[in-house]
Structures are given as C-alpha cells and as structure tokens.
Point group: D3
Chain length 138, copies 6
C-alpha cells in the first residue's frame, strides 16, 4: 500500500451551538466554543489518497492536481469565511471538527474517485493540540 | 543583555473593515479579510522581557508568574472571542495584527514594569507565514 | 472510522538501567541513557480515541473532557518528576519509551472505556526524532 | 501492536523527467519539477518498525542501532547528492517521492528483518506540504 | 518600532565550489556541499520590513502585497531551479546561504523602499539547523 | 550586519533549588521545578555569530566547524547528563535556563573569537513555550 498526502490550510470562524438550546445549555455543553460572537482557527487539512503508481510518471497522483482539487472545492469555499454561515456543505450541521472533516470527505471523495485513486483519510487539525482523522463510512 | 520569552496562544475571530467605508472599498482594501461574517486564527503570542538575573533564584522573572500575568490580562479576554466585539482593549480599533500587538503591549507594559523588569517585545503570529514584532513606542 | 487526538506534554527525568546489571553492562546496553545521575526529556503525548459521533454535540468526545482525564491521571503524576522513582504506574519497570507508552495506555484505557468510546493509540514522542505508537494488546 | 519510529533527514537534488520524452512533454507532465538544471529538497525520512518488546531492555529495538542502519545504508548514499545520478538504488528509476520511498524500503527491509523485527512503514516528506507513506508490497 | 514579517519558501539545487580550484581543494573546503552533481534544499525565506502604521488600514504594509513582491521577484526566479545556473541575481557568485541572503536583499530593497517602508531583515533558513540573517550593508 | 546561526540540541536532567533553603522554601520559590528526584528537558540551543563574509568561501564561518565546536565543548558535556551534577561549567550555579545560557556563552565566546568572528547570541529553548536569549555582558 502506498499513500500520498497533501497539506493545505485555511483560516475560518465558527461557533459550536444548537439553536434549539438556550444560551446556558450551549455554554454548559460547548464551553467557550459557544461564544455568540464567534471565534476562529487556522486549520491544517491533510488529504491522503491511495492508489497504484503510474509507471510512466512514478506518481500515484500528480500532487499539483490534488492540491488544485482541494483548493477549488474546499479552500476557496472556507478560507477567511464563517463555517456556520458561509460554507454550503456545512449548512445545517454543527460546526465541530468531526463534522467538518466528514463534510470535506464528502466533497472530495467523488472528485478523487474519478482519478482512479481512492480517498484514504481526511486529517483536520484545529489547533496544534487537537485533530480529527476520518477514514470514510466503512 | 538577557531576554526571557513566554509563548501563549489563543484562538479568535476578527474582521478587517472600516464602518465608514462601503463593502466594496473594504473588499478592495482588505480582500477576504473583510468577510462580513468574520474569519479567525490561532494566534501565537510571544512576550519577551528583559532585566537583571536575581542571584537568589537565577531568574530574570519566574516564568510561571509571567505566564499568569499574560493569561489573566490577555488570554482570558481574547481566547475563543471576537477581537472586534468582545475585547475591551481593542474597542474602536481596526483589528489588524499590528494594532493587536500594540494593544497587548499597552495592557502588559505597566504590569511588567511593576516587577522591576522591562517589556522588550510583543511578537504576534497570525499564521505560520505572517507575524508582527512590536518593541514599544520608542 | 473517525478518530480524535489530544496532545499533552510533560517534562521528566529518567534513566535506562537494570539494577541486576553492573554499570559497564548498563552502559554497553543503554549507552548514555544509563547515566547514573539521570537525564530528561520534553515528552509529547498524543492520545487517540475512536467512537461514534454524538448527533446532539457533533463530538466523538468533548476534547476538554479528554484533556482533563489525561491531565488528572497522567500529566499530574509525571510532569516535572522522575519516571523511575516518582511515578506509581512505572514502579518496577524499565523506563523505556515503549514501557512508558504501555503504562499510559493501561492507566487511560479503563477511564476512556467508561465514556463509551475506545482508546485507539498512545503515541509518545521522546524527541523530535524518536517516537513510539502503541495500539493495545490486540 | 507497538511501533517505533526514527526520523533522519537528508538534502538532495533531483529532477523528474523521462529521457524518452522531449522537453515539452516532460514540462507538460512534471511542471517545474522537470527543470533540466535540477532542483532539490530537505527530505524528512521516518522509518517505522514493529516487533515485540525485549523484556531485558524494554526496547523493541535499540533506536541508536536503527539510526545507524539508516545512516549507513541510506543517508550516507543520498545526503548532499543527486538522486538521479549518484544513488545506486535509484539508478534507472524516475526520482519521484513514491519511487524513492519504495527504494528506501527495499534497502532497509532485509537489514531490519535480520534483527527479528519488521519494517512497517517508510514515510518520506519532500516538503512540509507533501509526503508519501509506503507499507510494503503486501 | 514595529516590524512585519512574511515567510515564503522555495526548493532549489545548488553546489558550493570555485571553478578556479580543483576538485580536491573544493572538497577540502566545502565538504559534501561541493558534490559535482549538485544537492538541494527547501529554503524558508523570512522578509521583515519596518515602517509606520497607516491609520486608515491598521497596516504597516498589506501583507498580500509584500507576498506578491517576494513571489514575483524572488520565488518565481529560484523555486525549483538551480541557484548556480538559473538565477540571474546569483550569476558569478558563490551559492552560499550568506550570498543568497544578500542577493535577495539587493533584489527586494529598492522595491520595498518605493512603498515608503524599509527592508529590515532577510532571514534565510537552509535547514532546520542552519540560518542566516542579513540586515543590510549598514 | 550578517549573522549565522547553528541549532544543536541536548536532553538533560536538572533541578532548581538552593541547598541553603529548606524543601518548603524551595517548593514555594521554584514550584515543581524543585522536585528532589529531578526532572528534565529536550533543550534547543541556537548559537548565533557575526562577522565578515570570506570572499573566497562565501562563508562568515564554515557551519560544520561551528557545529563541531558546539558539540565538542557543550553537547558532549551536557547531553544525557544532569546539569546540576555532571556539567563542569555549571558547578555551584543554580541550573536555571538563564544561568545555563550564560554558562554556554562563557564556554563558547573565547573559542569563537579565535576564528575572527564574534559570538552574538545564545538562544536556549527549554520547552516550546519558554526560552532565553543572552547577548553577552555588554
């Protein structure tokens, strides 16, 4: 098995809350992540794909193509935006790192399959101390 | 000369804009940093002080005390908050990294002077690619 | 599969040696890690858990709770301590990074199981060049 | 399962091209990586092995021995060299990160097997944004 | 004094040698950096400028403009190139990190002066262990 | 002005305490850093020198020579040792990061002066959050 990973990054605002809960319950559950005026992070996104090596190029995938797909479909929609309000694929979802990793997977997975390679993992670092790894709904 | 530096970090939302400018002028000047729904960052804050070494302790300053002062006076006010709305010492100021570094200096400088040491530099990293260093109004 | 990881860190002293071996055999086997007067490291500890996402919170686990469990049960016992002498769960064991990772697993595994999630991996970095990953006794 | 990883690094020049293609086709396929006068990178190499813990030493493997094997068989051949020209185990192969990771695996795998442990993964970072993980031909 | 720094990076090949010296003298002086078939690095370039804060924007300089100047005048000429052969502003110079930092300063200094700010420092990291800081010919 | 910096690292044990104070006063002053059974760190040491560029080599100093001087005179004495007990140049001194940085300066300064360059700064990082910079007794 051979895996290739591309890192991209984005900066975004978000807030953890449920609008069917009052402020106190949101605060009890989500702590300062529920601050009504938002907060934000520099996210590091690692997209890992697997496949066979093309003997002509020595590549599993051209990493510039992989980077372009991530930038056009994820970064351009989320960088310098508000995850709760501005990002189409997060509409109606709680903006947790878990849900965001799954949302990014669902955007990228069909676009990567077309290249005859397979999306293997979305790793999403919210801070240097916290990260999520999602391997798909298997 | 001997300097001691403490790193702390915080995650916050902000937006670059002037309310006496229309949306187009804000966009032309500040680019995607003016997104009306905010964005955010993980900020790394480096506070550097200088002074004499206390011969009894071998310390310029007890770094736990320095950390406590930064946490109580800066981090507790800005972490998981909105810089434009929630932070008293940034009220009425453009939330640029430059102005934020100066705002942090102005909060910490009198508190550090009391310890018979001197605030030397506020270094504020907005991303791994961008940072400000402020050495005071000298 | 979805995984969430929390990083914590601690600074500790240790020594690699067997008291049923003489100094020369300890030195031959463990090199400068057997220095009789100890040495030490800044350890980075990555605790990875897996589970289902709670649809109400969007969380596999509240990362602040995970951090609290690690701090109360590991960091408070080992940070700024001597691994060979001061740490109850390492008593009588060789203080290798391998054994320390397993010791941390054995402390955390029952506490994490109670939360209806599963401990997946203990990754323990002794230096930027050396690390252990332990996935349990499976 | 317990894994131990050693990081080593090397700096090398390379070029991506096929000599049975003309310059334009090389440029179309490999972009600026096909620059005829070479370019180069600081590579980070992570060698992960798995095995049983030796109860006498608390080690899966003595990490200094692992480091020595990597340095003598890989780093000494590739550091401050040209991957396409100077490295015996890359002769006749496209100098992609994928092929280099496999080449390193093929060098190290028999040397590590002799120690009664198993090579688990070669992770090769070409830049902070791009890396390959190879788990062998299984 | 307030300073703002932008990091950019590039990957390039180079070789340290004097063509008026024979191979042995080059090897004696420059060690494996004189390898005739080149080697290379991922360079991190930190460009620091100083100036007054524009009260309308809160900026010393728009960091996107600073990034654009660095990319157009330095990165586009040196990234994925050979420093000795391909880079106009390094022609005829020994490709040491010292000379490269000065070469970058000489390219950027007049372009930055035009913006009514001042180039303060070029910091050039060749590896995570080696770097140069150049403050101009003062 | 042109500066060149070499990073080296070492892992060591230490303890902050005064033997003319009782345990309680040591604990009150130094907190958990006074743990009687020691603790330890991975230290990062950055040695910065300044000088003229040698026109024959393009170097302020051959960085391999600088590294050799640091390794032979500092790292070999302190790596995998106890700073309080094992290090000749720290005998009788409180093992604070401040005093250690000055101790390293005093060891290196005469050795670097001989090379017709000048020691500019010793930067010593005890953790990723705490560091000292010493510029000499000027």
């Amino acid at each position: 098995m051979i895996l290739i990973t591309r890192r991209e990054h984005f900066s975004a605002a978000h807030r953890l809350f449920r609008d069917n809960w009052d402020d106190q319950k949101n605060l009890d559950t989500f702590g300062n992540c529920s601050n009504p005026n938002w907060h934000g992070h520099n996210y590091n996104l690692f997209v890992t794909v697997k496949g066979e090596i093309n003997p002509e190029t020595g590549f599993v995938v051209n990493i510039k193509l992989l980077s372009k797909i991530i930038k056009e479909n994820i970064i351009s929609k989320i960088d310098h935006r508000n995850i709760n309000i501005d990002v189409d694929f997060m509409k109606g979802k709680l903006a947790s790192t878990e849900n965001l990793a799954i949302g990014i997977w669902d955007q990228l997975e069909p676009l990567i399959k077309v290249l005859d390679i397979e999306l293997h993992c979305i790793k999403l670092m919210e801070t240097e101390n916290n990260y999520i790894e999602y391997y798909g709904n298997k």
